[in-house]
C-alpha cells in the first residue's frame, strides 16, 4: 500500500533534527535559535507520525498533538523572556549574554 518505506521518513526527520540542532549551536541571534528549536520539535513530530502509521497505532498522533500544544506554550513564554532580555540588555545576541560566567 505504501511505496515509501518508513525509513525514508525517519531519515528525513533525522536530517531536520540535525539541521535544527546545527542552527541552535551556531546562530547568534536568540530568535533564530528559538526557531531552530521549533524545527527540532517538528522533526520529533514527524518521527512519531511515521511510526504511528507503520504500526497502526493512533497514540502517535496523540503524542504529536501534545507536542504541538506544548511547543506553543513554550514559544509564548520563551518569546516573552526574549522581550524582557532585550528590554534590559538591549541585545538578543547570545554572545553578549554571558553574565553567568565563572
Amino acid at each position: 500500500m505504501t511505496s515509501i518505506p518508513t525509513s525514508y521518513y525517519l531519515s528525513l526527520s533525522a536530517v531536520l533534527f540535525c539541521t535544527g540542532m546545527l542552527g541552535v549551536l551556531i546562530r547568534r541571534n536568540a530568535l533564530v535559535v528559538f526557531m531552530c528549536v521549533e524545527l527540532m520539535l517538528n522533526a520529533a513530530n514527524l518521527t512519531f507520525l511515521a511510526f504511528a502509521r507503520e504500526r497502526g497505532d493512533i497514540n502517535g498522533h496523540i503524542s504529536a498533538f501534545f507536542i504541538i500544544a506544548v511547543a506553543a506554550a513554550e514559544a509564548a513564554v520563551g518569546l516573552a523572556i526574549v522581550i524582557a532580555v532585550y528590554r534590559s540588555r538591549g541585545t538578543v545576541n547570545i554572545d553578549e549574554l554571558q553574565t553567568m560566567k565563572h
Partner: protein, 758 residues
C-alpha cells in the same frame, strides 16, 4: 540474748577466767543486728566523701578552723561507725542468724545496695562487706587516719592551700574505705584507682615546684602499670569463672567441713547470680571446688586448651603486678621514694599505713586462690625478699630523713609479701597493722623533727635532738625499737612470725625457694636494724651539727606530739596481737594461736582447708608446730641487737657526721646513695624509648602525615581541582549545548556499536 556460756565454738572463753570472761562476754554481744550494721556500711564511706566535698568546694570560704572540724569530724565519725561494725562482725552470735552468711564469710556484715551494671551474665553490684579482715582494716584506716588528720591540722597550719589538702585527704580515706569494704573485685578496683589518684593529688600538692609535680606524675604512671596488671587478672578471672561454671559437675565440688558438695555448688551458683563473676562470694566457693578441676583443661571459650591451674597462676601473677605497683615492690617501687615530695602527713597516711598495704589486702582477700598455686607463691616470696633486701641496702647511705623511711617502708612491704609467699596470711596482715602504727609514728616524728628544725630534712645537718625535742625523741625511739624487732614491741612478733614460717614451711614443687628467701629475710632484718639505728643516731644523738639551720630546735605543739605519743603507745600495745597464747580453734591438739590468727580464722578458713587438702604448702610436722619457737626468737633478737649495736658503734665512734667514704666501702656507699642506679636504668631502657616513640607518633604521624598530608592535603587538592574545573563554566549557553550534542552523539554511537556488534 544468748548467754555467754552457750558459745561452744569458742572454748577459750569457757575455761573460766573470771573478769576476763565477763568482759569478753560483754564485748561479744554487739549493739545491733547484722542487717542494721550492714545497712549502715555506706555511711562509713559517705562521711569522708561529704567531708571532701565540703572542704573542697566551700573550704576557702569556711576558714581554717571549720575545715579542720569538718575533715577530722568526718573521719572520726567513720571511725565510730567502723567500731560498731567491727563489734558486730566480731560477735559470733548475731552472725549465726545472718542471712548473708555464706561459705567462709560466715561472720560478714554485708549489704547489697543494688546492681551497678549488668551485661548478660556479667554483673557488678554496689555491695559492701565487712568481715574480720576488712573490719580490722577499717579500724586501722579510720583510726590512724583520724590521728594523722589531727596531726595535719597543726602541721599544715601555715599552708595557704589547707582546704585543698583536707579535701584530698578525706577523699583518700573514702577511696581506701571503698577498697576495703568492697564486695567484689570491681568495686575494689574503684577504690584501688581512687587511692592512686588521691596519691597523685597529694604528692604533687605543692605543684608550684616542678620536681614535686613530676614526683606525683611518676607515682601515678607507675601505679597505672600495676592497674593494667590488675585489670588483665580480672578479665582472665571472669573467663575462668565462666569456664568453670560451664564445666564443673556436682562431683567436682569439694565438700567442706561445713557444707556438702551440692551445697557448695549451690552457693557458687547463687554467688554468681547475685554478685556476678567477680564477687568474693562466688570466688570463695569456686576456690573450694577448684582442687578437683585444677589439672583439667578448659574445654571451650577463649581459654581453651589451658589447664585451670595454669590460668590461675597467670591470674595470680597479674595480680602480683598490680600489687607490686600499689605496694611498691620490685620492679615498680621507684615511685615511693619520690613520693616523699609530698607533705609529711601524706607520707605517713598513704605511703606507710594505708595505700601501700592495698596489695597485701588484695592477696589476703584472694588467699584461697593464692594457696592453689605454689609457683605464684614462690614468685611472690622471691619478689618480696629481693625488694626487702635491695630497699634496705639503698637505705644505708641515704641522707634524707624521709627517704630513709620511704625505703624502710618498701623493705617492710617486702617482708609482708614474703609472709604471703610462705602462706602465712595472718602474719603478713599483722605486720600490716603493726607497721601502720610504727611507720606512721616514724613519719610523723620525722615531720615533727623537720618542723622544729626549720624544715631541715638532711640528717647530716641534724643531731643532738634528744635533749631539745624530748617528746619527739621518745616516740621516734620507741618506733625504731619496734621496727627493728626488739622484744617486747609489736614489730618483733609480726616480723618474726613471717621469718619463722619461711624457715619451716616449704612449697610443693619449689622446696628450696622459701629457705633461700628466709636467708634473704634474715639479711634484710639485719639491714633494717642497722639503717634505722643509723637514722636514729644521726638525728637524735651526738652533738648538734655545725651547719644546722637553727642552733636550737624547738619542740612541736601539743597536737602533734599528742598524736605521736598515741601512735607510739599503739606500736607497743599491738604486740598483744602477736603473742601466741590463745587456744587453737580446731582443738587442744593444735598449736597455740596468736590473737590475730585466731581472729582471722574464719577469713582464712578456706585457704587452710585447701592447704591441708592439696599440700601446696607443707607445714612442719605437728610436734614441731606445738613447740614455741624459742630458738627462732632468740636468733631474731640477736640479729636485731647486732645490727643496732653495729650502727651505734659505727656512727658514734668511727664515722664522722656526713663523711664520704673512700675505697671499696666508698664505692658501695656511692652505689647505695644512688639507689643502685635503678631509676637511671628505667630511664634509659623504658622512658627514653617511649618518649622517642611518642615523638615519632606526634611529629611524624600526627603532625605530618595526618594533619598536613591527609587533612590539609585533601583540602588543598579539592581547592586546586575546583579552580581548574571552574573554567568550564563559561556562561556560553551554546557551549553547553555543544557538549550535550557531543555526548548525545557519542551515546547513540555507542548504543549502535552494541547492536552492530551482536
Amino acid at each position: 540474748m544468748i548467754a555467754c556460756s552457750d558459745y561452744e565454738t569458742f572454748s577459750q572463753f569457757s575455761s573460766g577466767h573470771g573478769v576476763f570472761a565477763a568482759t569478753n562476754c560483754f564485748f561479744q554481744r554487739a549493739p545491733m543486728t547484722a542487717e542494721a550494721a550492714g545497712w549502715s556500711l555506706w555511711m562509713i564511706i559517705a562521711l569522708p566523701l561529704l567531708g571532701a566535698f565540703f572542704s573542697g568546694v566551700f573550704g576557702k570560704a569556711l576558714g581554717r578552723a571549720n575545715v579542720h572540724l569538718i575533715a577530722c569530724g568526718a573521719v572520726f565519725g567513720s571511725f565510730l561507725i567502723s567500731l560498731i561494725v567491727y563489734w558486730t562482725a566480731a560477735d559470733y552470735a548475731t552472725q549465726a542468724a545472718n542471712p548473708y552468711a555464706m561459705g567462709g564469710l560466715h561472720y560478714a556484715v554485708r549489704h547489697d545496695f543494688g546492681t551497678w551494671f549488668s551485661a548478660g551474665d556479667f554483673k557488678v553490684n554496689f555491695g559492701l562487706m565487712a568481715d574480720h579482715l576488712s573490719g580490722t582494716m577499717l579500724l586501722v584506716i579510720t583510726g590512724v587516719g583520724f590521728l594523722i588528720h589531727l596531726y595535719a591540722t597543726s602541721y599544715m597550719s601555715h599552708d595557704p592551700g589547707y582546704w585543698r589538702f583536707f579535701a584530698y585527704l578525706n577523699l583518700f580515706i573514702a577511696m581506701m574505705l571503698t577498697l576495703v569494704l568492697a564486695d567484689s573485685l570491681v568495686l575494689l578496683f574503684v577504690g584501688w584507682e581512687g587511692v592512686g589518684m588521691c596519691s597523685y593529688l597529694l604528692i604533687g600538692f605543692w605543684y608550684d615546684d616542678a620536681q614535686k609535680a613530676f614526683a606525683g606524675r611518676k607515682a601515678f604512671i607507675v601505679n597505672r602499670i600495676g592497674d593494667f596488671g590488675f585489670l588483665v587478672a580480672c578479665f582472665l578471672l571472669v573467663l575462668l569463672v565462666e569456664a568453670f561454671a560451664q564445666q564443673a559437675r556436682v562431683e567436682s565440688y569439694q565438700p567442706t567441713p561445713d557444707a556438702a558438695a551440692a551445697q557448695v555448688q549451690a552457693r557458687f551458683k547463687q554467688g554468681l547470680a547475685t554478685n556476678g563473676p567477680l564477687g568474693f562470694m562466688g570466688l570463695e566457693e569456686l576456690a573450694k571446688s577448684a582442687p578437683n578441676e585444677l589439672r583439667n583443661e578448659i574445654a571451650e571459650g577463649p581459654l581453651r586448651g589451658h589447664t585451670f591451674n595454669g590460668v590461675l597462676t597467670v591470674i595470680l601473677l597479674c595480680f602480683l603486678l598490680g600489687a607490686a605497683g600499689k605496694s611498691a615492690q620490685l620492679p615498680l617501687f621507684v615511685w615511693l621514694p619520690d613520693a616523699m615530695a609530698g607533705p609529711t602527713p601524706v607520707s605517713a597516711l598513704i605511703h606507710a599505713a594505708t595505700m601501700v598495704t592495698a596489695g597485701i589486702y588484695l592477696f589476703c582477700r584472694m588467699s584461697y586462690f593464692v594457696v592453689l598455686s605454689p609457683f605464684a607463691m614462690a614468685v611472690i616470696a622471691v619478689i618480696g625478699a629481693l625488694t626487702a633486701l635491695i630497699a634496705a641496702l639503698i637505705a644505708f647511705a641515704q641522707n634524707d630523713l624521709k627517704k630513709v623511711l620511704a625505703y624502710s617502708t618498701v623493705s617492710q612491704l617486702g617482708f609482708m609479701f614474703m609472709g604471703i609467699g610462705a602462706g602465712l596470711f595472718w602474719a603478713a596482715f599483722l605486720h600490716v597493722v603493726t607497721h601502720a602504727f610504727f611507720k606512721a609514728c616514724l613519719f610523723l616524728s620525722a615531720g615533727s623533727v623537720m618542723h622544729g628544725n626549720g624544715d631541715e630534712g638532711d640528717i647530716r645537718k641534724l643531731g643532738g635532738l634528744r635533749k631539745q625535742q624530748k617528746l619527739t625523741w621518745a616516740a621516734f625511739a620507741i618506733s625504731t625499737l619496734a621496727i627493728t624487732g626488739i622484744v617486747p614491741l609489736s614489730g618483733f612478733f609480726s616480723k618474726d612470725a613471717i621469718l619463722h614460717a619461711l624457715h619451716t614451711n616449704t612449697l610443693s614443687g619449689y622446696e628450696h625457694v622459701l629457705h633461700y628467701v628466709w636467708y634473704i629475710g634474715l639479711a634484710a632484718a639485719l639491714c633494717t636494724a642497722f639503717y634505722m639505728t643509723r637514722l636514729y643516731v644521726l638525728t637524735f644523738e651526738g652533738d648538734r651539727a655545725p651547719d644546722a639551720k637553727l642552733a636550737h630546735a624547738h619542740e612541736s605543739d601539743g597536737t602533734m606530739t599528742g598524736v605521736l605519743l598515741v601512735l607510739a603507745f599503739l606500736s607497743v600495745a599491738a604486740a598483744a596481737h602477736g603473742i601466741p597464747f590463745m587456744d587453737n580453734v580446731r582443738g587442744p591438739d593444735f598449736p597455740k594461736q596468736t590473737l590475730m590468727e585466731n581472729f582471722l580464722t574464719p577469713v582464712f578458713a578456706t585457704s587452710e582447708t585447701l592447704v591441708s587438702r592439696l599440700a601446696t604448702v607443707r607445714l612442719p610436722p605437728m610436734e614441731e608446730q606445738l613447740k614455741l619457737p624459742w630458738s627462732g626468737w632468740g636468733m631474731a633478737w640477736a640479729i636485731a641487737l647486732f645490727g643496732g649495736a653495729a650502727a651505734v658503734v659505727l656512727y658514734t665512734r668511727v664515722f664522722k657526721r656526713g663523711q664520704v667514704l673512700t675505697g671499696p666501702l666508698g664505692a658501695m656507699q656511692k652505689l647505695s646513695l644512688n639507689k643502685f642506679y635503678i631509676d637511671e636504668l628505667y630511664d634509659v631502657a623504658i622512658v627514653k624509648p617511649l618518649k622517642f616513640v611518642s615523638f615519632v607518633f606526634f611529629k611524624v604521624i600526627d603532625s605530618m602525615l595526618i594533619d598536613t598530608v591527609a587533612v590539609r592535603g585533601t583540602a588543598w587538592v579539592t581547592l586546586r581541582l575546583g579552580s581548574m574545573l571552574r573554567y568550564f563554566q563559561s556562561g556560553d549557553a551554546q557551549g553547553y549545548a555543544a557538549v550535550m550534542a557531543l555526548a548525545l552523539a557519542a551515546g547513540i554511537g555507542w548504543a549502535l556499536m552494541q547492536v552492530v556488534g551482536k
